[in-house]
C-alpha cells in the first residue's frame, strides 16, 4: 500500500494553502467585526435594526472565513469536508432555533410578565 511513498509536502491539501486567500479572509472578517463593534458601541441604529445588522456582519464574516480559510469548496480534495459541513449546518440551526422557539413559547405562558422581556410581543 502507498503509505509514505510520496513526499507529504506535495499533497494537495498542503499545496492548496494560499497567502492571498488567508489575507482576504482576515481582512474581510476584521472589517466586518470592526463595523459591528462601531455600530454597537455607538448604538447607531434602533435596537432591532442593529441586531439584524450585526447578525449580517457575523454571517458574512463566517462565510468569508469558511471559504477563504477553511477551503470549503467543491474541489476534489475538499468535497467531503464540504458535504460534512452542509450536513451539519441544518442541525446547528435546528438545535439552536427550535430550542429558542420552544422556550420563548414556554416563557410567554409561564413566566411573570416582566417589561422588556423578549418573547413578549
Amino acid at each position: 500500500m502507498s503509505h509514505g511513498h510520496s513526499n507529504p509536502i506535495e499533497h494537495p491539501e498542503v499545496q492548496m494553502a494560499s497567502k492571498g486567500s488567508y489575507l482576504t479572509g482576515f481582512i474581510v472578517a476584521s472589517l466586518l467585526m470592526l463595523a459591528a463593534t462601531i455600530l454597537v458601541s455607538g448604538k447607531m441604529l434602533p435596537s432591532f435594526a442593529l441586531l439584524l445588522t450585526i447578525m449580517g456582519c457575523a454571517g458574512l464574516a463566517v462565510i468569508a472565513q469558511v471559504y477563504f480559510l477553511l477551503h470549503i469548496d467543491i474541489s476534489q480534495h475538499n468535497i467531503w469536508n464540504t458535504v460534512a459541513l452542509v450536513m451539519f449546518i441544518p442541525l446547528f440551526v435546528i438545535t439552536i432555533g427550535l430550542t429558542w422557539w420552544m422556550f420563548s413559547q414556554l416563557y410567554m405562558r409561564t413566566m411573570p410578565m416582566i417589561p422588556g422581556m423578549p418573547g413578549m410581543h
Binding site: 500500500m1 503509505h3 441544518p90 442541525l91 438545535t95 420552544m102 422556550f103 413559547q105 414556554l106 405562558r109
Partner: protein, 715 residues
C-alpha cells in the same frame, strides 16, 4: 468557586471513606464477595494456563477491528446481563410490594417489598442507563466494528488506534458504573435525570456524580467511534464499491454514526452543565437564580432522541441483511431502503420534544413536534414493507437468526404503533410517565435486542469459523419471546390502568395479578438466559462438526462472505474488486464463488499498542477521582493522559509490512482451516426447477472458461 460538599472531605481521599463501602447491605456484600472470588478464580486460571501473554498480545493491546468488536460485544452482553438483573429486581420489588399497608420483607429497612425507595431508585436508574448506553450501544458498535470494514473490503478501520481507544474508554465507563455498586451509591433520579433533583441540595451523595462521569465517558468513546466509522466508509472502500453498491447494513451504520457524531456533543454539554452546577455552583438548572429546569430536559433529549435512532438504525440494518440471506432474494427496494434510513436519521433531529410534551410550551410547538414524530412512521413503514416484500415469494429458511429477525419485525410493529399513539399530544398527556410509555420503548429496545441476537448468530460463523447451535438458538428465541409477552403485555395494560413508572410501592391491590404474571415472565427470561449460555457451551463443544467455509449459510449475499471464516487478521488476502451490489451472491450466481486470488501483493498493517488501554484506564481514574472529588488525582491523571497522548503522537505507528510470499502462505493456511465442501445449501435437495440461480458447484465453469447459463430469477 468549588461547591462545599456536605459531610467529610479530605485532600488526600476526597469524599472517599471506608463507610462508603456498603458491606452491611445483604445484597451487595455477598455479590461483592462472589465477584471478588470469581475474579480471583479467573486470574488464577489465566496464570495457571499461562495465558497472560496471549491475553495481552492478542486482545488487550490489539487494534484489529474484529477483536475489538468481539470485546465490545462481550462487554455489551455482560452489561445486558447486569441490566437484566436490575430488571428482575424491579419486577420482584413490585410483585412483593404491591398492595396497601405495610407489606415489606423487613430486610434492609424496607417497608414495602424488599428494597428501600432509595435503593429502588438506584436500580431503575442503573437499569435504563446500562441497557441503552452500556449494553445496546456496545453490542451495536461491536457488530458494526466487525462487519463494516469487511462489507466495504477494507483491511481495518481508518484509525485502528482510535478504535481501540473508543473501546477502552467505553470499558472505563462500564468499570465506573460497576464500581458504583460497591463504593458509594448510584444516581437515584432516573437514567436521564431530573432537574433539580440531581442538584447538590437534593442529591448530596456521589450517585449523581457517578452517573455524570459514566455518561461523559460513554459519550466520548462513542463519538470517537463514530468519526472512525464515517471516515472508514468514506475513505476506505474497495475499488468498485460505489455508494450504490454499499450493503444496507453499512448504509445504516453510516446514518447511525452521523447521528452519533452530531448528537453526542449535546449529551456531553448537558452533563457538563449538570457537573458545573454540582461542582462549581452555577445555576443552569436550579429552580431559582435564573436557572431553568426544563433546559436540562431539553438538552438531554436533544441528544436522547437521535440516540434512540442511533441504536435502532443498525438494528434495522441487521434485519436487512438477515432477511434477504434467508429468503434467497436481494433486498426489495434497495434505494427506498437507503432513503428511508436517511429519512429516519433526518427526522430524528426534529422530534425530541415529544419526550416532554407536558412541559407547557403551548399548542404551536407541540403541533410541530407531534407532526414530525408521526412522520417517522412513513420511512419505518417503507422498511417494514420492504422486508415483507423481500420475503414474499422468496425461498425462506427458518434458521434461528431468521427467527430473531422476524421477532424483531413483530416487536417493531407493536412498538411503532404504540409510538404513533404517543405522538399525539392529547394521548400523550393521558399516559405521560405511565408504564404504557415504558412498555412502548421496551418494545423498540427489544426490537434492537432481537436484531442483535439475530446478527450475532448470523455473523458468528464469519468471525469464529463455526455455527452456533440452531436448536438452542431457537429454544432461546421462544423462551425470550414468551418472557417478552408475559412481562410487557401486562405492562401495557397497567399503563392504561394508571400505573406511573418507577413505583417502588404500587399500592393498588387490583394490580397484583398483573405483577405476578410479569414475575412469571421474568422467570421465563431467566430460562432464556440459561438457553443462551447452553447454546454457547454446546456450540463450542461441537465446533468441529459445524465448521463453515467462506459462505457460511450458502445463501449469503454481501461482500464479507467472500473472505475466509474465521476472517484472517488481514481480512482479504487481495482487496476484492466489487462488481455488483450483493457481491457474494453475484459471484455465486456467476460461478466465481470458488475463485481465489492467484497472486498476492505486500500489505501494510498497523502494530498493536498498549497506549489505548492505558488511556482507557486513565479516563477511569479521572472519572473516579472526579466522582469522589479527589482533586490531586484528577489533575494528575489528566496531565498523565495528555503526556501519554503527546508521547504516542511522537512515536506514531509505522506499522509493518507482510510480503507477497508470506501472504500467499497465510492465505493457503487460512484456506486449509476451512472444511472442503464448504457451501452448505439449505435446499440442497430442492428440485423445484428454479434452483440454478443459487446452486453450488458452478466452479467447473470457471476452469472451462464458459460463462454459466444466465440464472433464472424467482421474481
Amino acid at each position: 468557586m468549588l461547591v462545599n460538599v456536605p459531610g467529610p472531605w479530605s485532600p488526600l481521599l476526597g469524599r472517599l471513606a471506608l463507610s462508603e463501602i456498603p458491606y452491611t447491605n445483604p445484597i451487595l456484600a455477598p455479590l461483592f464477595v462472589v465477584i471478588v472470588l470469581a475474579g480471583l478464580a479467573l486470574i488464577a486460571a489465566i496464570t495457571y494456563y499461562g495465558k497472560w501473554g496471549y491475553l495481552w498480545k492478542e486482545w488487550l493491546t490489539t487494534v484489529d477491528h474484529k477483536k475489538l468488536g468481539v470485546m465490545y460485544i462481550i462487554l455489551g452482553l455482560i452489561m445486558l446481563f447486569r441490566g437484566f438483573i436490575d430488571g428482575l429486581m424491579m419486577r420482584t420489588q413490585q410483585m412483593l410490594g404491591d398492595g396497601p399497608g405495610d407489606n415489606g420483607l423487613k430486610v434492609m429497612g424496607a417497608i414495602h417489598g424488599y428494597l428501600t425507595p432509595f435503593h429502588f431508585g438506584q436500580i431503575y436508574s442503573a437499569h435504563g442507563l446500562i441497557m441503552i448506553l452500556l449494553a445496546a450501544t456496545p453490542l451495536l458498535v461491536g457488530i458494526m466494528n466487525i462487519i463494516v470494514p469487511l462489507q466495504i473490503g477494507a483491511r481495518d478501520m481508518a484509525y485502528p488506534y482510535l478504535n481501540a481507544l473508543g473501546l477502552w474508554i467505553t470499558a472505563a465507563a462500564v468499570v465506573l458504573i460497576m464500581a458504583s455498586l460497591f463504593v458509594g451509591d448510584f444516581s437515584h433520579n432516573g437514567w436521564f435525570g431530573y432537574a433539580p433533583i440531581f442538584e447538590m441540595a437534593y442529591s448530596p451523595g456521589v450517585g449523581v456524580d457517578y452517573w455524570i462521569w459514566t455518561l461523559e465517558l460513554v459519550a466520548l468513546g462513542t463519538t470517537l467511534g463514530s468519526i472512525n466509522f464515517l471516515a472508514t466508509v468514506v475513505k476506505m472502500r474497495a475499488p468498485g464499491m460505489t455508494w450504490g453498491r454499499l450493503p444496507i447494513f453499512t448504509w445504516s451504520a453510516v446514518s447511525a454514526n452521523i447521528i452519533a457524531l452530531t448528537s453526542f456533543p449535546c449529551l456531553q454539554v448537558a452533563l457538563a452543565l449538570v457537573g458545573a452546577d454540582r461542582y462549581l455552583g452555577t445555576h443552569f438548572f436550579t429552580a431559582g437564580f435564573g436557572g431553568n429546569l426544563m433546559l436540562y430536559t431539553n438538552l438531554f433529549w436533544l441528544w436522547g432522541h437521535p440516540e434512540v435512532y442511533f441504536v435502532i438504525l443498525p438494528a434495522f440494518g441487521m434485519i436487512s441483511e438477515i432477511i434477504p440471506a434467508f429468503s434467497e432474494k436481494p433486498i426489495f427496494g434497495y434505494t427506498a431502503m437507503v432513503l428511508a434510513t436517511f429519512a429516519i436519521a433526518g427526522v430524528s433531529w426534529i422530534v425530541w420534544l415529544h419526550h416532554f410534551f407536558t412541559m407547557g410550551m403551548g399548542p404551536y410547538v407541540s403541533t410541530e413536534f407531534s407532526v414530525a414524530t408521526m412522520l417517522v412512521g412513513i420511512p419505518t413503514g417503507v422498511k417494514v414493507f420492504n422486508w415483507t416484500f423481500t420475503m414474499y415469494r422468496g425461498r425462506l429458511t427458518y434458521t434461528s437468526a431468521m427467527h430473531w429477525a422476524l421477532g424483531a419485525l413483530f416487536l417493531l410493529l407493536v412498538g411503532g404503533l404504540t409510538g404513533m399513539m404517543l405522538s399525539i399530544p392529547a394521548i400523550n398527556y393521558m399516559v405521560h410517565n405511565s408504564v404504557f410509555v415504558v412498555a412502548h420503548f421496551h418494545m423498540m429496545l427489544l426490537c434492537i435486542v432481537y436484531a442483535v441476537f439475530g446478527a450475532v448468530i448470523f455473523w458468528f460463523p464469519k468471525v469464529f469459523g463455526y455455527k452456533l447451535n440452531e436448536y438452542w438458538g431457537k429454544m432461546m428465541f421462544w423462551l425470550f419471546s414468551a418472557g417478552t409477552v408475559l412481562v410487557f403485555l401486562p405492562m401495557f395494560m397497567l399503563g392504561f390502568m394508571g400505573e406511573t413508572r418507577r413505583l417502588d410501592w404500587p399500592f393498588n391491590p387490583h394490580w397484583a395479578t398483573m405483577f405476578d404474571i410479569q414475575e412469571v415472565g421474568i422467570a421465563v427470561y431467566v430460562l432464556s438466559v440459561f438457553a443462551f449460555l447452553w447454546m454457547i457451551y454446546v456450540s463450542i463443544r461441537d465446533r468441529a462438526q459445524h465448521r463453515v467455509g467462506a459462505d457460511a449459510w450458502g445463501t449469503s449475499r454481501s461482500l464479507e462472505w467472500l473472505t475466509d471464516s474465521p476472517v484472517p487478521f488481514y481480512n482479504y488476502a487481495m482487496v476484492p474488486h466489487v462488481n455488483a451490489r450483493d457481491e457474494a451472491a453475484w459471484r455465486r450466481e456467476h460461478g466465481f464463488s470458488e475463485a481465489r486470488p492467484d497472486h498476492f501483493k505486500a500489505i501494510h498493517m498497523p502494530n498493536n499498542t498498549g497506549v489505548a488501554i492505558l488511556i482507557g484506564a486513565l479516563t477511569f481514574v479521572i472519572g473516579f477521582a472526579l466522582t469522589w472529588r479527589i482533586w490531586w488525582l484528577t489533575v494528575a491523571a489528566l496531565i498523565i493522559t495528555v503526556l501519554v497522548m503527546i508521547y504516542r503522537s511522537g512515536t506514531g505507528d509505522p506499522g509493518y509490512v507482510i510480503s507477497a510470499e508470506e501472504m500467499e502462505k497465510l492465505d493457503r493456511d487460512s484456506r486449509q482451516k476451512m472444511p472442503e465442501d464448504h457451501i452448505q445449501h439449505p435446499h440442497g435437495d430442492f428440485t423445484g426447477g428454479t434452483v440454478t440461480a443459487y446452486s453450488a458447484g458452478a466452479a467447473d465453469s470457471l476452469t472451462q472458461g464458459t460463462p454459466p447459463s444466465r440464472p433464472q430469477r424467482l421474481s
